[in-house]
Symmetry: none
DNA sequence: TCCTGATAAGAACAAGTGTTTGACACCCGG
DNA sequence: CCGGGTGTCAAACACTTGTTCTTATCAGGA
């Protein structure tokens, strides 16, 4: 109204009312409103107008509007970077696949290859899917730290670490999980299993991928 | 219609299929199925049969079935309605608080007291928040099974178990996690720590809460 | 003023869907 | 064997609701 020369100002308000009413209605009733419900709720008198706006909202990606289906509107919660449909404090982390030429390759293709974690559990150190990844444990070299074969580790990316940290590191293009420490002033990666030997940590062939901050286990024996 | 009899054997199977399919459908699609959708999903060939069952389910109080409204079924019984904003394959499980008078009390009030898990990781055994809960480990009695103090266990509810299962059980109103097994034909709950002794499992004071199917750890040392 | 585009309305159409009716098959107790 | 209850089906009916078409209103520019 106050905007001179802007006919959109009026339409924007109507489309906003439609959007907000749909959100409110679904939240209140747990099912979608019909076009005529929205008419009343948004103060529009024609189903056709509502229909137009719903299509626009669908084009904008704000809702999902199935053609012909009754009461089947879905609100697409798009928080920009935030994955659609996830609460703000939850992050989906990619599961690391293999590592070639020093560059980890993430296995995104499968839903089961990603994990949801509550970001709040890690303070503010993991707020996006860029900050961490998942590494599946293979072998029992860390069994004394109670990390078992088949466990999924949450690794927060960082390129340095402190003595005693359990870290994921790249050794000659192979990802491994060990405890970082020193012996006689020399840095080592220590397995937590007497059957294995410490690995000298020489900065040439080794790279720190990150620190293990969490663990998921779905095979309980 | 007047409820006359109680011949359940056959109808219960179909009505269960209807109920489960409606739950699944809503969980998957975020809106209700139509009667004809349910026909296909529940293996019934007549909309009329489905209609009958829906009315019965409404009478039982399991769903809310609005006369005349399309796709407006609500699952009622329900912390079971899918949490708004979560993807279909993700379930938020409540963290068990304390146990009083034999009844576990769930601590729902705090977001940090609940966990998100990918339902797909557990096959179809966990599809709703009523199927499982989270139990925080206190103590080291299961350390040999690599379950540490402070770990969070995902416990699928069930009231029986097999030898060798790691289960959560109620012993004299106290929740505990042990491995179930037999010694000399007598059932015991075995700790996985030589410092502790097996606990005889007598059905009077003991109740099985569920089986441990997953583990989350957020304190890595 | 007249035209034009945007917005909204109203009506009509068509499809999806809830509901009802009637019928058939089956089981079970007389 | 019979009759009632139950579970299912098929089809028809009627209402809800998505969709489209046409028209009305209004603001701004030539």
């Amino acid at each position: 109204m106050t905007n001179s020369g802007k006919t959109e100002s009026k339409s924007d308000k109507a489309i906003d009312r439609v959007y907000n009413y749909v959100k409110l209605y679904i939240k209140t009733n747990a099912y979608s409103p019909s076009v005529r419900d929205i008419c009343k709720g948004a103060g529009l008198k024609s189903t056709s107008s509502v229909h137009t706006y719903l299509r626009k909202l669908d084009d904008m990606g704000l809702i999902e509007y199935r053609p012909g289906m009754r009461r089947a509107i879905i609100i697409k919660n798009s928080d920009e970077t935030q994955e659609a449909g996830l609460p703000a404090d939850v992050v989906r982390l990619p599961c690391i696949g293999k590592i070639t030429a020093g560059q980890p390759v993430y296995a995104f293709e499968d839903e089961s290859d990603s994990f949801l974690v509550n970001a709040s559990l890690f303070g503010n150190s993991i707020i996006g899917s860029e900050d961490a990844f998942i590494l599946k444990v293979s072998g029992t070299s860390m069994i004394n730290a109670h990390i078992m074969d088949g466990d999924y580790l949450i690794v927060r990316k960082q390129n340095s670490c402190q003595e005693g940290d359990i870290i994921a590191a790249l050794i000659e293009d192979e990802a491994t999980v060990k405890r970082f420490g020193y012996k006689n002033g020399i840095p080592y990666l220590f397995p937590e299993n007497d059957m294995y030997s410490p690995i000298p940590f020489n900065t040439e062939g080794c790279r720190i991928l990150g620190k293990v901050v969490g663990l998921h286990r779905y095979s309980i024996y």
